[in-house]
Symmetry: C2
Subunit: 316 residues, 2 copies
């Protein structure tokens, strides 16, 4: 099949990163501009248009199939309307797909960060061989996207895959969202750091603090992972527990959808293999028997480019 071209836009809080991408996921041209998030939506839209124009030049007249945009906040689909994007000033309800489509006379798809990253892994990354998988962004919070039959599943109003707010314990911790026991309230980065600081009070011999440069306010999951790999029991316990709880949520989704495969990306996903073992074992325990053998927990393959590649991937 001849190579197709598409433009992928990763709209971040500080940078608009835009690429001209081909069907193999190769970046043929790249533009990085400041988002101007502290000004107003008009300024941000101006930056998006500018970055698209910049990479579009490099197509040198070859046909471009469309423009994909990964954006923060709640995205209403169909429609590609971006609602209340966090970190962008005064961004309330912006019909982004419409605005960009009118400007460039091209097909435009807009989706949230997690869905776009899921598409990236499906087309170019760890999910390439798997037509059905759950993608998880494990970072400050826990987000997700569902790849069903090789396509992103958005649900009737574009909100599917919000797996971070699945409760793993109805009597559990109170989450910011008002629900008890959301898995995000247990395994999100902030929670892990906070819990570590608490536990350190009763484990003065733990090496965790050394890995965080002696400053407990700087503790991140990667410090836990390194400490654990250096033999620190507390660090290991905290991360294995986190993996186990993530596995409970994964089990819920696998049971619902009859899926086997989960791909995990996001800042925390770089933790050591022992965490993935814990996730896998827990997910296997938490699915109906016929699914157990097939359970796979994979690391995402695409790092910082996932947003841009996945945005283009919605078109390609």
């Amino acid at each position: 099949m001849a190579q197709q071209l598409a433009i992928g836009v990763d709209l971040g809080g500080t940078t608009v990163k835009t690429g001209l991408i081909n069907s193999d996921g190769k970046v043929l041209a790249l533009s990085k501009l400041p988002t101007r998030a502290d000004e107003n939506p008009e300024a941000v839209i101006e930056q998006i248009k500018k970055s698209i124009s910049e990479v579009l030049m490099h197509a040198k007249g070859a046909p471009v199939a469309g423009i994909g945009i990964g954006a923060p906040g709640l995205i209403e689909n169909p429609g590609g309307i971006v609602r209340s994007a966090p970190n962008i000033k005064n961004w309330d309800v912006v019909p982004l797909a419409d605005i960009i489509s009118k400007e460039f006379k091209l097909r435009v798809e807009v989706d949230n960060d997690a869905n776009v990253a899921a598409v990236a892994e499906a087309k170019f990354g760890a999910g390439k061989e798997h037509p059905n998988f759950l993608f998880i962004i494990w970072g400050t919070g826990v987000g997700g996207g569902i790849i069903m039959d090789n396509h992103i599943y958005r649900g009737p109003s574009g909100g599917a895959g919000e797996v971070g707010h699945i409760s793993v314990n109805y009597e559990g911790l109170m989450c910011n969202c008002g629900t008890r026991g959301c898995v995000e309230a247990y395994v999100g980065q902030k929670y892990l750091s906070k819990r570590t600081i608490e536990k350190l009070k009763t484990a003065p011999n733990s090496k965790i603090l050394q890995f965080a440069g002696g400053d407990e306010s700087k503790i991140e999951p990667m410090h836990l992972s390194k400490a654990a790999e250096a033999g620190d029991q507390l660090a290991k316990d905290i991360l294995v527990e986190a993996g186990t709880l993530l596995g409970v949520m994964i089990g819920a989704v696998m049971n619902t959808l009859d899926f086997r495969v989960t791909v995990i990306g996001g800042g925390v996903s770089a933790v050591g293999d022992f965490v993935y073992d814990a996730i896998r074992q827990s997910a296997m325990r938490n699915v109906q028997k016929p699914l157990r053998d097939g359970i796979k927990i994979l690391r995402a393959k695409l790092g910082n480019d996932a947003g841009m590649l996945g945005a283009a991937g919605m078109i390609l």
Copy 2:
């Protein structure tokens, strides 16, 4: 549109119930035969064929679009292979769709009880107006089916919708399946009866036992519901707790799929409206905010005919 005809077969442990059904869900002819489940699969298949032949005669030569079969056990789809059906002797792996299709030269679809009942509610019952909903069978256990965009969603291997084994508490009760905290282990009929018997020891003034004819081994959820409606606090507490936990699981599924609507059938679903209120409140608490307003918990409308109607519904 002209009326279509299809045959629906409800294969139960004691009775094969087969109907000639039109697109409105009207039963034009009905056959009930003993399943002969204590003999062998051949005998059971003979009964299925016989019942189909009986109702087929009433089509009087009008074209029949196909045959749908609702069967117990694990169904492998695509393929319509029925594995290890409980309650049928020596039933191991039977390619039922193939066998029946060869006999009658008609399209045949086979699915499990829960999925077939979900289709019945989607086509003819409480889900008629809702293109996307979760169907729950609340009985001895907790089963489910997913209607997505007006069709049954079976998943890659036919196992989707097994929502009874979603854990609502990772530290919770041990379920028969080996998982901790499956919602089935809390709200299945057997558990509810057992829990009631335990609690009655410390609540000698409860009226529950009266409603069960004075025999605690006969206590069923409907006795709890009647006692609760007669003002019995213990009965009310047990059912409200069950509804609350069912709502936690419903929240997990709604978050995953971006659904709003749940339809509940099965033996326990006849409990009073106060239980539905508890389910609804809990489901609303357990979904992400944008979904909360739309949450609907509906009673299934089709009773004992759901299996037969839904089986035909897979064809119509």
